[in-house]
Symmetry: C3
Subunit: 354 residues, 3 copies
């Protein structure tokens, strides 16, 4: 295990609690907005190429980008790291994360240039220009709430003003796939504006099927509440309160997983870490033509379900699902709540021959 590091820390049932106070300060940092060796863009997950536990230095700055959600539909999103959803962080149960976030909402931050090549995240976002990022300025207080962290929320998830940086640590005490999001009021608005993503905490001893898995992907479902305003689209708070989404999307765009389908081959075992980020709706995740051989509720290997056609997930719930790809062909992925599938909650997996 990563050892205790600060005087304030203590252990209960093998888990570390009592992180030191968060630091909030101002600096002139203007480097890469996303830092971390195990940080990728959905649907990708970085491989954990180390044994045991590790301390991760991670940065996800907040800034605004105009992003596309559907053909012809873009809005000025509030983002972690420039994309909606934000970057995927992969760690192992027991790892320590030293996290930094600068609120750069007053700056025009360019996400795809000049950082190409700097990390898997930048490579992947450069390779997938579906969201068509354009920097915009939208000064606003923001915060970061990692569901994967067990800390005092009033301290670590504190709201910071534009220009401020917050720095805190958390331990990945529990395996699973977790939501992170901005926790600044109105949380409904801040999440709906684009501030959410996934942390995958792989179990210390792995999942029992680790050696059989051929592909491993991450999908984040979310609702968009946009209304047209002249040529533009803006967030519609009344629609968000009424649970009446304009779009429901996998990985931030109605076409994210159909323009760029997941890939596999007949006979493969595919694992998907599926997070329903909400902000309000449920998801009934289903793969057309397949049955989930295993489902780990919330991604914990102790929560095993078998042989499921569909898995129901509440807002900010996740499941790690696995299925055998039966044959060469095309398998659509849907929220089987068809009112949401019609709004865009659909994608595809293409399977080559065995």
């Amino acid at each position: 295990n990563v050892p205790l590091k600060h005087d304030s820390e203590y252990v209960i049932d093998g888990k570390i609690y009592g992180m030191p106070k968060a630091k909030i300060y101002r600096d002139d940092y203007n480097g890469p907005a996303v830092v971390g060796d195990y940080v990728t863009m959905v649907p990708h997950l970085a491989e954990l190429d180390y044994k045991g536990n590790k301390e991760h230095e991670v940065r996800m700055d907040v800034f605004s980008q105009k992003v596309e959600v559907a053909p012809g539909v873009s809005y000025n999103a509030w983002t972690f790291g420039g994309s909606v959803p934000g970057p995927v962080l992969h760690v192992r149960e027991g790892d320590r994360v030293v996290f930094k976030m600068k609120n750069r909402s007053t700056e025009e931050v360019v996400i795809t240039k000049p950082f190409k090549g700097a990390s898997p995240y930048f490579d992947q976002i450069a390779a997938n220009q579906l969201q068509k990022h354009q920097p915009v300025v939208a000064p606003m207080p923001h915060s970061m709430d990692f569901h994967s962290g067990t800390v005092a929320a009033d301290d670590k998830w504190a709201t910071i003003a534009p220009g401020e940086t917050i720095e805190f640590e958390w331990i990945a005490n529990y395996a699973g796939t977790y939501m992170y999001h901005c926790g600044t009021s109105s949380v409904l608005m801040h999440t709906a504006m684009g501030q959410y993503g996934a942390v995958v905490v792989s179990p210390k001893e792995g999942y029992p099927t680790d050696k059989e898995v051929d592909q491993e992907y991450v999908i984040v479902q979310s609702e968009m509440y946009l209304e047209q305003m002249g040529d533009e689209y803006i967030y519609d708070h009344s629609a968000a309160l009424a649970r009446d989404p304009s779009h429901v999307v996998f990985n931030g765009h109605v076409s994210a997983l159909s323009e760029n389908p997941l890939k596999s081959n007949a006979g493969d075992r595919v694992r998907i870490h599926f997070l329903n980020a909400g902000p309000s709706g449920t998801s009934s995740f289903h793969v057309i033509g397949a049955i989930f051989d295993k489902v780990w509720a919330e991604g914990d290997p102790r929560n095993t379900w078998y042989g499921m056609q569909t898995v129901l997930l509440g807002a900010s719930s996740s499941a790690t699902v696995e299925f055998i790809v039966p044959e060469e062909g095309v398998y659509k992925l849907v929220d089987h709540e068809f009112a949401d599938a019609e709004r865009g909650a659909a994608g595809a997996l293409y399977a080559g021959p065995r």
Copy 2:
């Protein structure tokens, strides 16, 4: 087990994959629209009077019927086999299904005559005239997606034109209660129009309580989205998109399970295979006066829950529930989401003396 049958087939973890390509053709078949020895009408389930595995020849033709949903409320449904929901297919884990479906949407198909006596399904539909079937013509492409099958969806679940027949095979690789439905776009519309039903795949080794069960029933919940148009009712796509159902029903009619209540006796163990067909809503299934002694999520005997007052099911999720009937009397069955119970999602079980 049913052995491998085609060169394309292979086994992974004891399950058979790699079914041969679907065949689509035209013929002049105009025989019984539903064929199958283990095919019944809800709430009935055929007894599996064979040992081990079996190959089933099953037909469920598509055609339209005007059906009643509530007193005075009928609409021109698109159906599998003439009823809403469609027939219940019962097989055993490991069985092979050779399935045929003719799209007879251009024909007036009479469901209750002259096929009375031809199979349990026809007997049961003739005995229960609540839906008051009347043949109508509604030419339309359709398809069949069995959640119980693990196959390439673009091949087996292909859409066929009026007059065409599709033929394909699938193996019941996983035990459980599964939805089937038309997968032709708009799936929201095709399912809401009436094209859904249940397949019960009994576990190879059974459920641990098989010997104690006194009655076994099937309930399919679904939402109807109908609007009045003069004297008629028609499907309301806006209401379906808005998740604003006009009716929510058990077994296709607001009175299906109150006009014809389930039957049992005090002290009996009752098993219900409950499927929430959606197309979009959740169901919180509850039996008033009883507690579910066992709940098998998705009908898989490995997914056991105990002592539940209510089971929450997403769209296209199922559960196999069992309860002891405490006393002689009347037990209402409800979706405990009372906004839906008020729309009709209610029924009853009548218990005689011990």
Copy 3:
């Protein structure tokens, strides 16, 4: 175990069924509206200071109170025992409850006086004047449906007229946290008007963590459907049918758990029995800054989930959750369906130093 008591009773799988018929009569009772040694007000739970099983004499009379739901928003609630939600009953698996309820909807019943000191419930309601109870008269038939009881619903849950008393018995055959509510038609209306609460049936052998738990609380979530009518608020049945709540609340008031937060200390193990009373919506219960170490679905110790960020509960489903309080600080509790959190489904837990 509490032995069989009436000739009609019999045992199946160690559980007692076959309770005698309910009695309905008129008397001139005008004593305390709530009776029971193990009856408290949310979020409190009485300690079971006895070994083995016990017979409980419990009364919860029905009468109306004007209660506050949010600052400036009061309505004439229909109540069990004067509060919304009603009193919490705590028993042990196997206990017998002899229950009496008088329909006093024609009377002005004073809840906080003169019964102060009479039982934990009265002490607690007197100490927490957030709902600002004022007696009102609202003659109406009512009934009581305990989800914790296994009985003939048409007999025990029978509707009684104003002035009548109903008396029946039930056995707590199954451990777990259960909803009770008025089952009189329209059930949507009677529950939305305020007639619901929780029964906690502690497992015979306890939960495996009983010795580690430092605090034990009860939270009941529910939706309110109120519309303004001049200076008053009244129940809005159209909004209830449309699932468009005006308020979503923990323990009956938008500020119940923020004005009077739950209390603990860093390092504590906190247990919450969480019931989603609906009447229609789901809840995605989450504690900001914590992860649920254990979740027992429906409160049954055989239904264990581990390491969950959020637990999804349908209408009339419950979970018993436990978490370690990581540090001194403030932890907000929310329905992570943020459209509902914005309507009031939020509270807090304050943690002192370790």
